[in-house]
């Protein structure tokens, strides 16, 4: 999650000129605030969900979401797309990243993994030999959330963006700031890890 790559979306958002407010700023502000509410508040649960998975902590997630909305409002003047939800996600991701850097002083991932670990291990760790091997135990919501939360940062975020928020690959690429090919390989890796964890969970319980 904590990448050093520049983020296209938020760089656009941050390029707002620091000029003086126009004389009719009051009226504009009312209108802006209203438009912002209408556009951004409906996504609050989604933004909060992403924050919960990125930070793995409820209180931190709340703070990050609040900061995300304040930043989004500040940059709303220059918002020209993409869709509102990915835009908010990109801002949230930056908030989480700077918060992490502030806390630790280093721009590593939370897991301390180097970024390029993702391509080292072969994808398919446990080839199923029969159709029965494909059957997966149905876990309760709490267990599924935990299994997802335990994924390494880079893979966790693509799973959350894809499976929970239904973003397209190109939207994920924009939010995360990587090429679509990288999104695809991370997602493949993420699902492989998740499936393994899923089956390990079953082993751990029996």
């Amino acid at each position: 999650m904590m990448l050093d790559r520049p983020q296209r979306l938020t760089l656009v958002a941050a390029s707002k000129p620091a000029g003086k407010a126009p004389a009719n700023a009051g009226v504009d502000d009312d209108d802006k605030a209203r438009r912002f509410r209408d556009a951004a508040l409906p996504h609050l649960d989604d933004v909060y969900t992403l924050a919960r998975y990125l930070l793995r902590n409820g209180a931190d997630a709340e703070d990050a979401v609040q900061e995300c909305y304040l930043r989004a409002l500040r940059h709303f003047d220059t918002y020209r797309g993409p869709a509102m939800k990915p835009w908010l996600f990109a801002i949230l991701r930056n908030v989480c990243r700077s918060e992490f850097v502030r806390r630790s002083g280093v721009a590593l991932t939370i897991d301390g993994r180097a970024e390029d670990d993702e391509d080292v291990v072969p994808l398919w760790q446990e080839a199923p030999l029969s159709p029965e091997a494909n059957m997966l135990r149905q876990w309760d919501a709490e267990t599924i959330r935990r299994l997802v939360a335990e994924l390494p940062d880079l893979f966790r975020e693509v799973i959350v963006l894809r499976e929970i928020n239904d973003l397209s690959y190109s939207e994920i690429a924009d939010v995360v700031g990587v090429p679509i090919g990288t999104v695809m390989s991370r997602l493949a890796r993420a699902r492989s890890l998740l499936r393994k964890a899923w089956m390990d969970e079953e082993g751990a319980r029996t």
Partner: protein
């Protein structure tokens, strides 16, 4: 297509992200490779086993409130406050310092606080310029009908001249964005504005007095109406005024 390529591409197939040409290439490989085909089925199962609904969190209500509070207020409220502030901009008698502190009073978010701030603003406005009364008379039977058709409510008007509070007239004013009746009394050289509005919420039984920026404000509710008496007279005197007004109102009700 190699198995290594297919292992990645089958996810894009699963997510319907491939164009027709690439989808066909992957499907061709899967048809001839049971191992990759098994993987596709396995991930399809995984996807089915983790519906988004079970993974989602709901933002706590407290977070929603915090964010809404941090956003600029919705337009309706802001404009009603602004009209109050505009009233100040037009008045010249007030010092900038008073105006500045009043801004603080006016933008307190709580509805009750706002009403108090507005009542004080209206009182101060009435003391500037020539606009203390729209209808000037000491006769309660002239003041009361004057409000007919101008307001949602018929404000009670009680003559308290005998009790030392001289009725001098009435006018229309605005509190919390609504038109209200202002009934004006005089105690020696002091003006008392009594604002009468429909009660926002029932249940305030006892009267309360608070001092805001050197002015006393007495609030009470009666029969679905909300009263704000604002003046620079002492709290005890304003208390007496309120009590006599309520007593007078009960007497009017009996006759």
């Amino acid at each position: 297509m190699t198995c290594a390529e297919a292992e990645i591409m089958l996810h894009a197939l699963l997510d319907a992200e491939l164009d027709a040409g690439h989808a066909l290439a992957v499907e061709t490989h899967l048809a001839s490779c049971p191992r990759c085909e098994a993987q596709l089925q396995a991930y399809r199962e995984l996807q089915k086993a983790m519906p988004a609904a079970r993974l989602r969190f709901t933002a706590p209500a407290s977070l929603r409130r915090r964010i809404e509070a941090a956003l600029p207020a919705p337009p309706a409220r802001v404009s009603s406050r602004r009209s109050v502030l505009k009233g100040f901009a037009m008045g010249s008698a007030l010092s900038a310092a008073i105006a500045a502190t009043l801004v603080v009073a006016v933008i307190r978010t709580d509805r009750d606080e706002r009403a108090v701030g507005d009542a004080l603003s209206a009182h101060l406005r009435s003391l500037q310029g020539e606009h203390l009364t729209d209808v000037q008379t000491s006769d309660q039977h002239t003041v009361k009908p004057w409000f007919n058709g101008k307001l949602e409510v018929a404000p009670p008007v009680v003559d308290l001249t005998a009790q030392g509070f001289r009725l001098i007239g009435g006018r229309l004013d605005y509190i919390d964005g609504r038109a209200v009746a202002a009934i004006v009394y005089r105690r020696r050289t002091h003006v008392i504005n009594l604002f009468v509005a429909p009660a926002a919420s029932p249940g305030r039984s006892s009267a309360s007095i608070e001092k805001v920026q050197g002015f006393n404000i007495r609030r009470w509710d009666t029969d679905g109406l909300e009263f704000f008496a604002v003046s620079d007279i002492e709290a005890e005197e304003l208390q007496e005024f309120g009590a006599k007004f309520e007593a007078g109102l009960r007497e009017v009700g009996r006759t």
